[in-house]
């Protein structure tokens, strides 16, 4: 009997190994042609589902994650990439891909709105699927009755210690805000000086949107400079369930920077896959794909709170009007400066 139980355990072990190997046999596939989409966009799975359902030649497979790790994954894949499409906030990464010759330009011209046209790359090397604003100033109207509406206003001693922002080293979207500051103030140094002045006025720095908003909620700060989708999500939450003493509202100080979301196609994959990728991009930018923005419940999927880039798309109902004075920064110019600015921020702003 001992022998039997031994044989049994061997059989169990062997079958576990075979199960593991069997799991790997997922790699084998016939038609349809599969394309891996690396994405950090909340409503991407819905788009994928809709696209896959609408035709049978191609199958887009979802590889969701955070932008940073996904970019690291792409970099590690190097010259033998497994990704077919990459979709995330920001365009500096897409510009970097383009500069390194890794993207396949779109084979069609998207029907961009005027915002979309301004955001899209001139060579049509990747698609712009929408845009968020960096930054929106989310403030507690219950505590801040006259919030600062302009950049110089935020430096007044009246608001000392009440304003918070994110750390660009950890919060991806924060760098475009800083770049935008530098752009509208005229130079990199001007932007840096502004931030130093803010710091002198008691600026509170947290890692990213979540902690900054939390600081706002408990009254550590009264105004947080966050991504507009995060701000909108917060407003939606507290409109549904109001809490005394906390009334979140948004304003856009200065000329907020539009941060587009980019969707790029890998040029190093087989031609058939690239064709499928093109079809997917086309779908996302088509009325069918764009309708997902309006039809999705924003309370659980706040990425749909972006400003559409395609003409004729109805934005989600919670999205307010586009700020009148917005700016667009050139990712090819500002992208390469990111590491240096991030390091400067750490050394100068985030310290006490």
């Amino acid at each position: 009997m001992r022998l039997n139980s031994f044989k049994k355990s061997v059989a169990v072990a062997a079958s576990l190994v075979f199960a593991a190997v069997g799991l790997s046999a997922q790699a084998a596939h016939a038609a349809p042609i599969t394309i891996n989409l690396y994405e950090a966009i909340g409503y991407a799975p819905d788009e994928i589902k809709a696209f896959n359902a609408s035709q049978s030649t191609y199958q887009v497979v979802d590889v969701g994650g955070s932008t940073g790790p996904l970019l690291a994954k792409v970099a590690a894949e190097g010259t033998n990439p497994a990704w077919g499409l990459f979709w995330a906030d920001g365009d500096t990464w897409a510009a970097s891909f383009d500069t390194n010759g890794n993207v396949a330009p779109l084979t069609f011209k998207p029907n961009y709105s005027s915002l979309g046209k301004r955001l899209a790359p001139k060579n049509n090397s990747f698609a712009i699927t929408g845009s968020t604003v960096m930054v929106a100033a989310l403030y507690n109207a219950a505590k801040m009755t006259t919030p600062p509406a302009t950049l110089p206003a935020m430096l007044r001693t009246k608001y000392k210690g009440q304003i918070g922002m994110n750390d660009p080293n950890i919060s991806g979207p924060t760098y475009p805000f800083i770049a935008g500051l530098m752009n509208q103030l005229g130079s990199e140094d001007a932007g840096k000086n502004y931030l130093v002045a803010l710091k002198k006025n008691g600026l509170v720095v947290n890692d990213k949107n979540g902690p900054t908003i939390h600081a706002l909620e408990i009254g550590q700060i009264n105004m947080g400079l966050v991504q507009n989708t995060a701000a909108l999500a917060e407003i939606i939450k507290f409109t549904a369930k109001p809490v005394a003493g906390f009334t979140p509202k948004i304003l856009y100080p200065g000329r907020p920077t539009m941060m587009p979301s980019s969707l790029a196609i890998d040029s190093k994959r087989p031609a058939a896959e690239i064709a499928g990728a093109q079809a997917f991009v086309k779908f996302v930018l088509s009325p069918a794909g764009q309708s997902i923005l309006a039809s999705t419940d924003a309370t659980v999927n706040s990425d749909v709170l972006c400003y559409p880039s395609i003409a004729g798309t109805t934005p989600n109902k919670y999205v307010p009007a586009l700020p009148t004075a917005y700016q667009i920064i050139n990712p090819y110019t500002w992208g390469p400066l990111q590491s240096e600015v991030d390091a400067w921020f750490t050394a100068t702003i985030r310290t006490k």
Binding site: A27, E217, A347
Partner: protein, 592 residues
């Protein structure tokens, strides 16, 4: 293939006839379990680590730059500022490791050698402790001590503590707390295998209780060092806790540099690799310290002659004070993350316990149907089951190598690479895997394992191997070798002997190692994020995606549900063990 003895020996060639060197050499090739072990270790641990580190010198090797050889990546590493950061990491690592070990040792003694009433609570909550992710721990501390946080609103003047918390003290403390559960499990395992005769010898020769305790502690040295080594390596590889509770300007640690490389656009792996190499130098220091301490001693105390220990009966004061100690420790190690979880996922409104709130489970009922929970949790469970089994098998062999008497090259090799895997942040480890298994020529060979569950399982196993094997080192080192010899001599092959003799002796530690691996893999993030098969995200990725979508309540709720699920599995496993394992297996180490 005969599994006996593992000796697939070629039947001996008639020695007298063919004396050719070739034939003799060929006869020496043996396919043994050890050979399989070394092959596996090389492919799942050594090569990925080495390939990643190689880009520090040779970016072009993995298409990460233009030069075939350069030292430019080391430039940021040779700055004074980085040197200080590295020193900080070293100090934090040491203090966290030693602190965790001391607390864990005291807890193990209280639980296993006394009749303190609160020990039962500790025993039942230990796995919950182990599962508490550092994100929740840091969050809990923050919620308590932040400006206008819970304690401040209660009127407590917490500013001095807060200033301590948001700095090296806080970081070290959180990392120490994080390390206590693992250290406890390792040390308790070893303590169970220690008969009482050594302490009695001290008492008989005039030593007091404390002297006896010191003897016991010295006999437990291998497990103490095992625990410290892992806590140390985990501490120096940490990024999340340090960045949450501090900032580089304030108090820098080595991992900032590493993550800066990874987060830059374009990604700068060479700098991250150069930084990783410096982290590994700290690991070498740790191993040297350990080997010095354990040099030349025998810790083989577990045999048929090991008698169950008698329990120290505490006085009323003793019971009270020890119970208080245990409860306070539990409050700190478990209560705080629980508080963080409650605050983030179960409270309405502002998540503050003191403003107007109601506890509701709307987040929980919502996420039960979330696509971030169901399938990912099922997938993660399957993967964790496989990983735990694979890892425990490999870890048993690895721990045997680690406890061999001679300080052989093999032992040092395994020791180094196992700790290296811990000291390197998970993302780095995963990138090494992508480098290794996404190589074009491997694909050309017909091997397409990048992007499969198979590769993920291997990566999980390699990731879990260090802590799993070190959790077994204490026990492996205690088994007297003659017991295996006796089984071999009386008719059993090596594998049978191992199953009949060694495994039962370490049945409980094996079970605990299995559960540790299962729990650790279920919620593992960095490796999961980079290596999961397209379309099958593990649950940690699901949680991450919820949090990224600003659904903090939902994300935390999924995390809590996953932890509860893991606890259910732990409970089932212990139940099955206690119910079905042969009595001889349970007797050992369970003198309670």
């Amino acid at each position: 293939m005969a599994l006996d003895g593992g000796l697939l020996v070629r039947h001996r060639v008639p020695f007298s006839n063919e004396n050719s060197r070739f034939k003799r050499g060929f006869n020496r090739i043996r396919i043994t379990p050890m050979a399989v072990f070394w092959t596996l270790i090389t492919f799942i641990l050594v090569i990925p680590i080495l390939l990643f580190l190689s880009v520090a010198f040779s970016p072009r090797l993995m298409s990460q730059g233009h030069q075939w050889f350069t030292l430019a990546s080391f430039k940021p590493v040779f700055s004074g500022a980085y040197g200080i950061a590295l020193l900080h990491s070293l100090i934090i690592g040491i203090i966290a490791a030693v602190g965790a070990m001391i607390i864990a040792l005291s807890m193990a003694w209280l639980v296993l050698r006394t009749n303190s009433p609160a020990r039962i609570i500790w025993n039942t909550t230990i796995f919950a402790l182990f599962l508490a992710p550092s994100y929740l721990i840091a969050l809990g501390w923050q919620r308590l001590f932040e400006q206008r946080g819970v304690l401040e609103i209660m009127g407590l003047h917490v500013e001095p503590i807060r200033n301590l918390l948001y700095g090296p003290v806080g970081i070290t403390m959180v990392l120490m707390v994080k390390g206590i559960p693992f250290a406890y499990l390792v040390i308790a395992n070893a303590m169970r295998g220690l008969g009482e005769e050594f302490e009695q010898a001290v008492r008989v020769h005039g030593g007091n209780r404390f002297a006896a305790f010191k003897v016991m502690a010295s006999l437990l040295m291998p497990s103490l060092f095992s625990a410290m080594a892992i806590v140390f390596a985990e501490a120096i590889s940490d990024f999340g806790v340090a960045s949450t509770l501090s900032s580089v300007g304030h108090f820098s640690v080595a991992t900032y540099q590493l993550y800066q490389g990874i987060n830059s656009i374009p990604v700068n792996f060479p700098v991250s690799a150069a930084t990783s190499i410096t982290l590994l130098s700290l690991v070498i220091l740790a191993i040297l310290a350990q080997n010095r301490a354990l040099r030349g001693r025998s810790f083989r105390t577990l045999s048929g002659r090991t008698r169950p220990v008698t329990i120290t009966k505490l006085s009323l004061l003793g019971k009270f004070s020890t119970s208080t100690y245990i409860v306070i420790l539990l409050l700190i190690t478990l209560g705080i993350p629980v508080f963080g979880a409650i605050s983030a996922s179960m409270l309405d409104g502002l998540g503050s316990l003191l403003s107007h709130y109601t506890i509701n489970f709307s987040n929980y009922s919502r996420v039960l149907h979330s696509r971030f929970l169901r399938n990912p949790l099922i997938y993660s469970t399957e993967m964790s089951l496989i990983t735990a089994t694979l890892a425990v098998g490999l870890a048993a062999i690895a721990s045997k190598v680690l406890t061999s008497a001679r300080n052989s090259k093999a032992k040092r090799f395994v020791d180094f690479f196992l700790l290296a895997a811990v000291a390197l942040p998970g993302i780095v480890f995963a990138i090494g895997y992508i480098f290794t298994y996404n190589l074009r020529f491997i694909n050309d060979l017909g091997l397409h394992i990048y992007g499969t569950s198979f590769l993920l399982a291997l990566a999980y196993t390699a990731n879990a191997l260090p802590s799993t094997s070190r959790s077994l080192v204490g026990n492996m080192g205690q088994i007297q070798e003659s017991m295996m010899d006796a089984a071999r001599v009386h008719g059993s092959g090596a594998a049978r002997a191992w199953i009949d003799v060694t495994m039962p002796l370490i049945a409980r530690p094996l079970l605990i190692a299995w559960l540790l691996t299962f729990s650790g893999t279920l919620l593992e993030l960095p490796v999961s994020e980079l290596l999961y098969p397209p379309g099958s995200p593990p649950v940690a990725v699901g949680i991450e995606l919820s949090l990224a979508g600003f659904d903090y309540g939902g994300g935390t709720a999924i995390e809590v549900l996953s932890i509860l699920w893991a606890l259910v599995v732990v409970g089932i496993a212990f139940f099955l063990f206690n119910r079905f394992a042969p009595p001889g297996w349970k007797r050992l180490g369970n003198q309670r």
